[in-house]
Each structure stands twice: as C-alpha cells, then as structure tokens.
C-alpha cells in the first residue's frame, strides 16, 4: 500500500470499525471510545483526503474542526428534518467517509497540492 493511499485506507478501516462496534453491540467503554474517535476524526479526515503537504499539526487541527463541524451540521439537520436516529447518523457518516475514501483511492493523481 502506497503512502498516498494509506490515509484513505485508514478512513475506510476506521469507518468499518465504528460500524462493526455498533452492529456487534461492542461492550463499553470500547464502543464509546471507538465511536468517539470516529466522530472526532474520521469525517474530517475523509473530506480532507485531498490535501497534501500540510504540516501534521495543521492536519490535526483541520481534521478535528472539520469532523466536529460535520457532526454538528449533520445531526442538527436530521433533527430539524425529523429524520434523526443514531442509525441514520451512522449511515450518513459512513456513506460520506466511504465515498470520500473511495474517490480518493480512485483518483490519486488529481489531489490538491499544498
């Protein structure tokens, strides 16, 4: 696996871990820990897969911020639409992260250079 693909693969693996924890009803505190890390990191990492050359601290800050923003906006929208449920949130976050990671894996040459 090339270095360029590693982040996208990591996003996919983390997403899968979160889904598995929920489906398998993993014991606490493992489930809470996995979901917490998933919500804090993975959505932001997924949408920022195309960045390159950013310093690690900047990446960390951007990923955390983007993840929180996505979590807040998605959850809020679902509540206002009356569609909220933990399953719906998980499905949508999974779809977003998977789509971003898949797109990134398919197009490694079209990424934005930093």
């Amino acid at each position: 696996m090339s270095e360029e693909r590693a982040p996208a693969v990591s996003v996919l693996l983390a997403t899968a871990a979160a889904v598995l924890c929920v489906l398998a009803d993993a014991p606490q505190p493992l489930r809470a820990l996995v979901i917490g890390i998933f919500m804090l990191v993975v959505p932001g990492a997924a949408v920022l897969l195309w960045t390159r050359g950013w310093p690690p601290l900047v990446v960390t800050t951007a990923v955390l911020s983007a993840s929180m923003a996505i979590d807040v906006l998605l959850s809020t929208a679902l509540f206002y639409l009356g569609w909220w449920s933990p399953t719906c949130v998980l499905l949508l976050l999974t779809a977003l992260c998977t789509a971003c990671a898949a797109a990134r894996l398919r197009a490694p040459d079209r990424m934005e250079k930093a």
Binding site: A32, W54, P56, L57, A66, A114
Partner: protein
C-alpha cells in the same frame, strides 16, 4: 491525507515543528539571513519556491527553516547538554506523574470558602512545580525540545484541570447536567422545539451529543460530564500550537504562551457545553486562517487610497514594521481554498451551536480584514449572513418571545458592568477574596499583554494580528450582559492572544545568559501564577462540587414527581434537569416568589403551598445543602433564607415531607388542589 512532502525539509525529515536541523540548533528559532538574531522579523519566501529549489525573489527575505519542516538531528550531533536536557525532562516528567498519581489516590479534602487553594495536598503543588520545571528545561534549554514540552504540558493540563475531580465521582458544576438533559430531550422528542428555551434555538452541540450517545449505546451523556474539562482543554492544544506558530517563529514563545494560557484560563467554560466546543473551533479557524490565508508583501504595504476602510486600515496597521508573518506563506492555490471552505463550514456549525461565539467570529474576521492581516475580506459578510439566516429561521421562535429582553442590553455598558462586576462582588469573605482575585487576575493578564504591546510599539515594532484579536472581543461588552458573564467570555476569547503577547516580555534568547534569565523568569512567573489560578479557577469549588446526598435527592425528586409537576429548587445551585427536561417546569424559589415579595420564611411556605395547590399537576419542593452553601457563600438577595424556609417547611402542616436525608428535603404541598 498524504504525508507532507519530504523534499521540503531535506534528508531525515521529521515534519514536526520541534525537530530541527543542526544549523538551527544554536538558536532553535533559526535566524534568517536578514533577520535579527531572534529570527522574529522578515517575510517568508513562498514555500513553493523553497521546495522547488528556486531562488526566492530579491525583495523577499529567504526564510529560515520553517517550524514544520526542520530536519531532525542525528544522535551523533548531540552533546552533553542535549543529553542532560533529555534526562532532566524525562526525570521531571516521571516524578511529576508519580506525584500526580499520589494526589489522585489521596483525593482532595472538602473545599472551603476559597475553594481548593487552601486544601490541596502537597503532592499536587509538587506535581505542578516539577512539570513547570520540566517545561522550562524543555523550552529554554539551548535546543528546545518541543516533544518534552508537549508531554509536560499535557500532564500539567490533566493535573490542574483534573484535580477538581479527584475524590469525587461527579462532575463539577450544575450546568453539565442540564446539557445532558437537553440532548436527551432532543432524542425523546425526535425533533427541535425552539419554544422550550434558548438551548433549542441553538441545538447543534446537543444534536451532536445525542448522535454520539445514540451510536455509542449510552443512555445519555452523563459519562462524558466528569472529564469533559480535561478533554476539552487537551483538545485545545493542537489549534493553539497552529495559532501561535502562525504568529511567531520563536518556538520558546509558542510553548511559553501555551503554558501561560493553560495557567490563566480560569473562566471555567470548558465543561460539557456548546461554548467549549465553539471556543475550540474559534481558535482552530483563526489558527488555520492565519496559517494559510496570510497577507502577501502587497498586503503588508500600507493601504493606499481613500475610503473609510483604507483609512482605518492605515490607523490600525501603523507605519512600523509588522511583526512576523511567521510560518509558511503558501500561494493561494496551496490549501487556501480548502481552508476557506472549512472556515465557512465550521462557522456555520458554530452558528448552529452557540449564541455568542458567532459574533466573536465576526468581530475577529472584521479585525483581520481591516488590519489587512488576511487577504480574505468576505468572511465577515458571509458569517453575518449565516447568522441572520439562522436567527430568522431556526431561532425565530425563541427571538419572538425574548427579543425585547435581548435588545434591552445592547449598548448598555453600565448594565453589563453591573451584571459582570458589581453584582458578583458580594458574599462571604472567602468568596469576596475569590471574586476580587478573579478581577485582579484578569487585569494582570491583560495588563501584561498591554505592556508588551507598549514596549514593542516604543521599539518600533507592531504585533498587529495579536493585538487585533486581543481587542476584537471587547466589542461584545456593549452588546449584552449575557447573564452577567460577558466579561468572562471576553476574557476567554482574548486569552490566547493575551498569553502570546505577555510572553513577548521575556528576554530574547540571543545569548546564553539572556536565555537563562528568560527561563528563570518564566519558571518564577508560572510558579507564582499557579496558586493564583487555583484560587480563581477553583474558588467556587464549594458550590461546584456535587455531593452524593444531592445527586441521590435529585434522582429521588424525579422518581417522585408526577408528570407535568412544577419542581421548585432552593436556588440555581441545583444539578438537575438531566432527565425529564420537557416534562416539568423547573424554577427556583426566588422565581416563584418574585411577584409576591414575602417578608419571611413563614410567608414563603404559605405562598408556596397556595401556588402549588393551584396547579393541576401539583409540584414538589427540593432543598439541599448545596442551596444553603450557595446562599452562605454568595450572599442572600431576598428577605428570607433557604435555611429558614427549610426549617419552617419541615414543621409546617401545609407540606408533607416525602424525602429527607443528609440535609436534603423533598416536600409536597398537602391538601386538595383547587
């Protein structure tokens, strides 16, 4: 995300700001060829030009190695001094960790009227002293060791923000419980009812919390309450590093400022709350904007032309050399667009989460635009538009019922001062010491920042960005009293920049003696800062610390309360509403008696009984030791005391005592309801 391009830093690249090549080791901040010894001034060459090996244009000073891109040293390059620094740092960290563990096991005795400062064990103070010594060695040695600084700062945060939880299974304060209840209410109702209260006009944080607890299989967010302050403070570390690295190349100033920030953040807004997450996003967005969307040489020239914006810009920027656009200055195509989109998205999330922080964002964006610290001028307009949209759509129901009250405070500086200052300066002698300590502490921090600005101004240097962002939150003061907390919030928004500017007062490490002097000054200052911080941060611990008796009594209250019942608590110091948020009306005794103004406790009990019997669903009264402590510490604002009411309640035939334990009482009005 791809790893950063290794060619940026040469062989053996380690792309963290704390690993530097041999050339930079003598002065870790690496003076540029045209900069002074401390490497503080000068405009950086475009990162792209450096990477591609092209010579930077003549008008741009070649940059010393960027904090992100310095290569690591080989072991063979490290002399005895380096090894001593490493060994000392490790030793101090391990010793501090041991002392902290001892403190955690010992627990913390019950607080007094001055909180924890007079009761914390020696192990705590030893922990902090060792950590501050470790930070000093890590930062102010010949070659700064940011990894060790990070480790020490991390343990320091755990120590100073976690000590309040040692020895108690409950979180501090009453508000986190309420926030858990808001999230639970969202889950129960499945939608947002903005007519409940203000929380439901800005439900973003609670929606996220509900999503987390739902996916994590938790009943509610109570498990997050206790250690939320430590987690939220630790989460601030990356964006603070990004922000400070965008303001200076001096890694010693960066870590010193971070240490001072953590020892000065007394405002206690880091619990499970929208404002904690919003503040994190505030710091993150500003740090990212200042890193990526930096002014070019053209922007740093004095703005020409007429018009009010240009005039204000010239006044703000002044004519002296601008401090330090540090860090890489990438061309706009290198991440700027992404960061801009991220900034807008994050701002939108904050607008959905919190009433106040969006306005802090707008003020910061305006300040940066007017001061030409960023080439992006449209952010204030975009943010303002999003705020208006939210207020007119999502929060309209809340505004319709409360607009008059919200607008009444606009421009009322005296009123804000009354609520934020005067009304808080009352209570027991111990509490008065805490309140005055908070005022003095804040003045000192701001004063140090102001002194640094003055010293730099006299030396012909400007720290425009930091000054603008230090001062922009002050405009909030005249907007609203915010429940008497506006000054506190202004201090919070300004603190990163105040800490940064205050550290500019330390001597530059241009010689060994000056470096040692700066290190000694830093260590002395932080050692003096720590007990002050504990006094002002934990000064209300007597009120903030929940007891098992109170928590059990409140759980019993909800077990006993009939559906729709009115629940009356002695005062605001009640850790309730974490369940059945929308099921009951929760009020305080003072609120119930507001129109009647009873003269004594007997009148209160009589009036309370009459009012509760009139309610179709009835009501219950809850009085606990926490209410008595609140009144004793903060002073009484009514003609009766909770203690007197409790005494009368226990013997009055109008009430039946349903629960009584450890000075916690739950009573119900006796008699047929009308």
């Amino acid at each position: 995300m791809s790893r950063p391009d290794k060619t940026m830093s040469g062989a053996g690249a380690d792309l963290l700001p704390w690993t530097r090549g041999p050339a930079a080791r003598g002065s870790s901040i690496g003076p540029g060829p045209s900069g002074p010894a401390h490497g503080r001034s000068g405009v950086d060459a475009p990162a792209g030009a450096r990477r591609r090996g092209r010579t930077a244009p003549q008008h741009l000073a070649p940059v010393a190695s960027e904090p992100w891109t310095r290569g690591s040293t080989g072991l063979h390059d490290r002399g005895p001094q380096w090894w001593w620094t490493q060994a000392s740092s490790v030793g101090l960290l391990l010793s501090a960790g041991t002392a902290l563990a001892v403190c955690a096991v010992q627990g913390v005795p019950g607080p007094t009227d001055t909180g924890l400062v007079s009761v914390l064990p020696l192990s705590f103070w030893l922990t902090v002293a060792l950590l501050l010594a470790g930070i000093t060695i890590s930062v102010w040695s010949v070659t700064p060791q940011p990894w060790f600084a990070a480790a020490h700062v991390t343990v320091l945060v755990i120590a100073v923000y976690g000590v309040g939880m040692f020895g108690t299974p409950y979180p501090r304060g009453t508000v986190p419980w309420r926030h858990v209840g808001v999230a639970t209410e969202l889950v129960t109702s499945g939608g947002v009812d903005p007519t409940i209260d203000a929380y439901f006009g800005w439900p973003g944080f609670f929606a996220m919390l509900a999503s987390f607890t739902g996916m994590a299989g938790l009943a509610d967010g109570q498990a997050l309450m206790r250690w939320a302050p430590v987690v939220n403070e630790l989460l601030l570390l990356p964006p603070l590093l990004v922000l400070f690295h965008a303001l200076t190349r001096d890694v010693r100033v960066v870590w010193s400022a971070i240490t001072v920030f953590y020892l000065a953040n007394w405002v206690d807004q880091d619990y499970l709350a929208p404002q904690a997450t919003s503040f994190f996003l505030y710091v993150a967005v500003l740090g990212l904007l200042l890193t990526f969307l930096r002014p070019t040489r053209a922007h740093l020239r004095s703005p020409r032309g007429g018009g009010p914006i240009a005039v204000i810009g010239r006044l703000v920027r002044g004519s002296g050399p601008q401090g330090d656009p540090r860090g890489p200055v990438p061309p706009p195509s290198q991440g700027a667009a992404t960061i801009l989109v991220l900034a807008v998205g994050v701002t939108a999330a904050v607008i959905a989460m919190h009433q106040l922080t969006p306005f802090a964002f707008i003020l910061a964006f305006v300040a940066l635009a007017v001061g030409q610290r960023t080439p992006v001028r449209g952010l204030p307009l975009v943010t303002g538009t999003l705020v208006v949209l939210w207020l007119t759509l999502a929060a309209a129901a809340y505004l319709q019922g409360n607009l008059g009250e919200l607008l009444a405070g606009v421009g009322d500086v005296a009123g804000a001062a009354q609520g934020g200052l005067v009304e808080r300066i009352q209570g027991s002698p111990g509490h008065l010491l805490v309140v005055r300590g908070r005022l003095l502490f804040s003045v000192v921090i701001w004063g140090l920042a102001g002194l640094a600005v003055l010293v730099h101004y006299l030396r012909g240097r400007r720290d425009t960005t930091a000054v603008l962002l230090l001062g922009s939150p002050a405009v909030l003061f005249g907007m609203q009293s915010y429940g008497g907390e506006m000054l506190l919030r202004i201090f919070m928004f300004s603190l990163p920049f105040a800490a940064f500017l205050a550290m500019q007062l330390l001597p530059r490490a241009s010689t060994a003696s000056r470096r040692r002097a700066a290190g000694a000054l830093f260590l002395t200052g932080t050692l003096l800062l720590t007990p002050s911080f504990v006094l002002v941060h934990y000064g209300n611990q007597l009120l903030d610390q929940r007891s098992a008796a109170e928590v059990e009594a409140i759980a019993e209250l909800y077990r006993l309360a009939p559906p729709g019942a009115l629940l009356v608590a002695g005062n605001d110091n009640t850790a309730w509403r974490w369940t059945e948020y929308g099921e009951h009306r929760h009020v305080t005794l003072e609120r119930v008696m507001a129109e009647d103004e009873p003269q004594d406790a007997a009148a209160v009990v009589r009036l309370l009984s009459d009012q509760l019997l009139e309610l179709p669903d009835g009501g219950l009264v809850l009085l606990t030791q926490a209410h008595l402590d609140y009144e004793r510490l903060l002073g009484r604002r009514t003609s009766y005391s909770v203690e007197e009411v409790q005494r009368v309640l226990l013997t009055d035939d109008r009430f039946t005592v349903l629960y009584r334990r450890d000075n916690a009482v739950i009573a119900q009005a006796r008699g047929p309801r009308t």
